[in-house]
Symmetry: none
């Protein structure tokens, strides 16, 4: 954990935040599992993917938290988690947006490797203690990051203008959640560059990643479920 | 745990109460999961939310109990738990009360932040050892607490008068459970103010929180299920 020593209060804060993350993810996992059959057939795989995402995240939060309780915070878990869950988050969005099959395949072929590149490029900077290395890999990871956000927000805009009423509103809510939460990551990533010895920044970074993960996975999953339910109601 | 040393008997009592809490919550979790499809579609997400609430509470009781077994009672778990579960308890009630969609959204926008404020304001007083601080945050947390109870009991009364027969009776039962159990919390909170060195009060507080959690989550979930089942029968 960047070799920052934490006071007892800050230790408790990070400890409780990680436990809170575990509980939210596992709670969302159960909820999404119960909701799969509440939407039309075409969208069920998206809700199942939401469940898988928060289930995997719950496992990783449990691992991060257990490690932290034993005195070591393994950032590798975050990257292992993102490597599995971020492509799934992209795929479930494309399913509920009602993107035509042909285009969806094309988008997946471009976006899934982009998410893998983004996370793989972020990792060397995350574990490095050299600021130059951190900046370099931050900048490299930002290329696929910006490409993914640009492509997804284009699809979201197109889908919102194809639809009307509750479906369009649900898509706009999902867009907001996606754009706001994704921007937390590149900022939290850079905290150690600004001051790697700052305890406050390190605590803020861990709590920030946790809150962003909860929003980007559990809350975003609720938004995906909202789109799927609105579509199901509109189709009935 | 307020630096109170417990005798072996009292230690066993708290230990068993926490284990009992874990078992009841996990038992209720399984039961609510099996009941989701026994009610009409409109109420299924409320029963799923009940399951999530007691599932998350079961996780937290397990964590509190494990910590206590190792010699440390982390009150942070209670607050992390309430932060997730109390908004869900409010949401599930609004779903089964049959509050019209527009009004429900308005109520959620007011009530969910109020629950978060209530719990966030309670925490600094809970962990403080200073009586002045405890009183201050107790009083601050009581503002959203009373607002939530006032708003919910108004909705409960309105719903009971809209309905008749078994539905009205089920709503009245839920009202009773809600009002009685919620009042345990602000009282148990204040025990250390009256006598922070009293072993009896500390034991009563831990057992009291546990009993209140079981009633406010598992028994209340049964009441919610009762309303949903009565409505399903009335609609068929």
């Amino acid at each position: 954990m960047n070799e920052v020593m934490l006071t007892a209060d800050n230790y408790t804060l990070v400890y409780n935040a990680l436990s809170f993350g575990t509980a939210v993810m596992l709670g969302a996992f159960v909820y999404f599992l119960t909701q799969i059959n509440s939407v039309a057939k075409a969208y069920r795989s998206a809700i199942a993917a939401s469940a898988v995402v928060v289930g995997i995240a719950g496992y990783h939060y449990f691992r991060i938290w257990s490690g932290f309780a034993e005195g070591e915070l393994n950032e590798g878990y975050r990257y292992a988690d993102w490597l599995i869950t971020v492509p799934l988050l992209v795929i479930e969005l494309l399913i509920v947006l009602g993107v035509a099959n042909e285009l969806r395949k094309k988008l997946m072929i471009r976006l899934v490797p982009a998410t893998v590149a983004m996370i793989a490029l972020g990792y060397p900077g995350e574990i490095s203690t050299d600021n130059g290395t951190k900046w370099l890999f931050w900048a490299l990871a930002m290329i696929p990051f910006l490409y993914i956000l640009w492509e997804l927000s284009g699809q979201l805009r197109a889908a919102a203008s194809r639809e009307s009423g509750p479906v369009a509103r649900a898509i706009k809510n999902a867009t907001l959640v996606l754009l706001v939460t994704w921007c937390v990551y590149p900022i939290a990533y850079l905290f150690p560059v600004f001051d790697s010895s700052s305890e406050g920044l390190e605590v803020l970074r861990q709590v920030g990643y946790t809150v962003a993960d909860i929003t980007a996975k559990a809350l975003y999953g609720l938004m995906i479920l909202g789109i799927a339910k609105a579509r199901t109601a509109a189709e009935e």
